[in-house]
């Protein structure tokens, strides 16, 4: 592989990694606190994308960078509100339900998201061009990198940095981490655990919506978006360690590299190495790279 190929592979890897991390961040946050693997996360990510798309195409400004970011933020807000509703009506009730049924319930929620999306926006594929400064390619020497890929990478890094700061440096973050680690003791210490749960869930959903808006120009938009990204996100958080944002970041980079290298050496079998890596991790270290062992 020449230098140009290496560079392309690396950029592809990072783009995939950061895109998946954007989706996985909220998922792992919610898992860390509720211990629920939320299948519907992909659905809300998709809704966020559609909301941002609708805002940009209806209200104009699809070419402007600030409009793009604004739409992404609006999507985050919309999905966060939906998340608050979902938490109230469904997730809180799932607390008393057996694990297997919880998984099925979140899958049912995904179906609702997909159904709603199909009803409101139809079955067809839509797409959006990247906003102004990021529409072309950046040429460095021998190889060209889609400018939007750089945006995605930057966005992913920014969100990671933001989450690191939030969780590590703020009181709210400390609360979340404490409750995630030991809700019983936190409750004893007077923490309003239910409120922290709700807060974190809403944050997780907001991240899903934000990811949807930010990644809007990265791929085409269709009701199938949810299932594509959810599997990638699952892989990433399982490899990285469920409940750990750093783990998700690490897992994303690792799997991104594997995916990218895989598509280079095995172009006829896309995703094979991804699943192989997933299987290996689940067998060798099921709690993931940075996860904590949960009893047995």
């Amino acid at each position: 592989m020449g230098l140009a190929e290496w560079a392309t592979t690396l950029v592809n890897a990072m783009t995939w990694a950061m895109a998946t991390f954007l989706v996985a961040a909220g998922l792992t946050l919610i898992f860390g606190i509720l211990h629920i693997l939320n299948f519907s996360h992909g659905g809300f990510f998709m809704i966020g994308a559609y909301v941002a798309f609708t805002l940009l195409t209806r209200l104009g400004g699809a070419n402007s960078f600030s409009a793009y970011l604004l739409a992404a933020c609006a999507a985050a807000v919309v999905v966060a509100l939906l998340g608050a509703l979902v938490d109230r009506v469904i997730l809180q009730r799932l607390r008393r339900v057996e694990d297997a049924y919880v998984l099925i319930a979140t899958y049912a929620l995904l179906l609702v998201c997909e159904g709603g999306t199909k009803l409101i926006w139809g079955l067809g594929y839509q797409s959006l061009q990247p906003p102004s400064p990021f529409e072309g390619a950046v040429v460095v020497g021998n190889f060209a990198v889609p400018a939007f890929s750089l945006f995605v990478i930057g966005a992913g890094l920014a969100v990671f940095a933001g989450l690191e700061w939030l969780l590590g440096r703020t009181a709210a973050g400390r609360l979340i981490r404490a409750v995630a680690m030991d809700p019983w003791t936190a409750r004893l210490l007077g923490v309003n655990v239910t409120r922290v749960f709700a807060m974190t869930v809403v944050a997780g959903f907001a991240l899903a919506g934000l990811a949807g808006g930010l990644l809007l120009a990265n791929q085409s938009l269709s009701p199938e978006l949810a299932s594509v990204f959810i599997i990638q996100a699952f892989g990433v958080i399982i490899v990285g360690g469920m409940g750990s944002v750093r783990g998700a970041f690490l897992g994303a980079m690792l799997l991104g590299l594997i995916e990218s290298v895989g598509s280079y050496i095995l172009p006829d079998l896309p995703g094979l190495l991804f699943f192989a890596a997933l299987a290996v991790i689940l067998l060798w270290r099921p709690q993931g790279l940075l996860g904590r062992e949960r009893g047995t």
Partner: protein, 334 residues
């Protein structure tokens, strides 16, 4: 179960099965071709759901990848039908079953290492998606377009010459084979192996310390489920006359989960009831995109949150209250 009780349960089951088969046999004379087509798929889906529930209710194992067996069976039967048309269809069914069992052993050996619910569910999902990728890249399997033109077979058994190639005659073959598979599943569930699985589900460690090779039994259960699902898929191939990679996708894996939860996983016939209800739902909502998903998702949520026994559980509760009798132990199979 005392011998008398066991016999009674078996007879109850056979009676129900007979009623269902008779109803199924009469159906084509009162319904149009479109509905017969759906009914044929219904029987296949009943087996699909029941095979899933063997794992779920009896084994306590949630598999999100059943579609892989369905697809393996469907594709195996299709390839054999197109490439080796001289091979009797019954052999094709056998090969499909074996392929399903083989795939289950491979997937299960990997996935069952972590039979903790979430991990197993995701692993089976991943396996299913992997198979989907392999199918879309395989020229033998028709890549994204799949394989079409699969003819309904002509079957010769001894002196019997059964021509299912014309009209909807194949419907009856599907009905008979599915009834047989349902019987096999009932037998597995209610025999010593089913008892062992149930024990493993309730208290795996105790089972282990009694000398049960827990992982091996789970693998066997997975293989049985996989084999039967594959045969169901093999029946679907000539019925649909076209097989596409969609059969291996996650959305097909969730169908048996939907049937089972909706009908009630605690009842043997639960998945059948769920399959029937969902057939109606899918049929009546087929024109408006998205309604089916909404309706199905909504129903599932209702079931999980307030009606864990599913439709059959609801009916059972209503019946018990209606007869105002106190039953000592709850009947766990219908």
């Amino acid at each position: 179960m005392m011998p008398a009780e066991a016999r009674a349960a078996r007879n109850r089951f056979l009676a129900t099965l007979l009623c269902v088969v008779v109803a199924g046999a009469i159906f084509p004379s009162v319904a149009n071709r479109g509905l017969v087509f759906i009914a044929g798929l219904l029987w296949i889906n009943v087996v699909f759901g029941l095979a899933f529930n063997l794992l779920f209710a009896t084994g306590g194992i949630l598999s999100f990848g059943q579609a892989m067996f369905y697809a393996v069976g469907a594709y195996a039967a299709s390839v054999l039908s197109l490439r080796l048309p001289e091979l009797p269809f019954l052999w094709a069914l056998l090969v499909s079953g074996l392929a399903g069992a083989g795939l289950a052993v491979v997937a299960g050996t990997v996935a069952l290492r972590r039979s903790e619910g979430v991990y197993f569910a995701v692993l089976t999902l991943a396996f299913g998606e992997l198979l989907h990728i392999v199918i879309t890249k395989s020229t033998l399997l028709g890549r994204n377009d799949g394989l079409n033109g699969i003819r309904r077979p002509v079957i010769d058994i001894g002196m019997l010459h059964l021509d299912f190639s014309a009209g909807d005659a194949f419907y009856y073959f599907i009905l008979v084979v599915c009834a047989f598979l349902v019987g096999v599943l009932w037998m597995v569930t209610h025999g010593a192996f089913g008892r062992a699985l149930l024990a493993i589900r309730q208290e795996a460690q105790r089972a282990e310390f009694l000398g049960m090779p827990v992982q091996r039994y789970r693998l066997i259960a997975f293989a049985i489920s996989g084999a039967i699902t594959a045969v169901a898929g093999a029946l679907a191939a000539p019925w649909l006359q076209i097989v596409t990679p969609d059969l291996a996708r996650w959305s097909n894996s969730t169908n048996p989960i939907l049937f089972t939860l909706l009908g009630g996983s605690g009842f043997f016939w639960g998945p059948a009831a769920g399959a029937a209800i969902l057939s109606v739902v899918f049929y009546t909502t087929r024109t408006l995109a998205g309604i089916a998903d909404l309706a199905t998702g909504g129903m599932l949520l209702v079931v999980v949150l307030s009606l864990p026994g599913g439709v059959l559980g609801l009916l059972n509760a209503v019946r018990q209250r209606a007869t105002r009798r106190h039953s000592g132990t709850e009947a766990a199979d219908g």
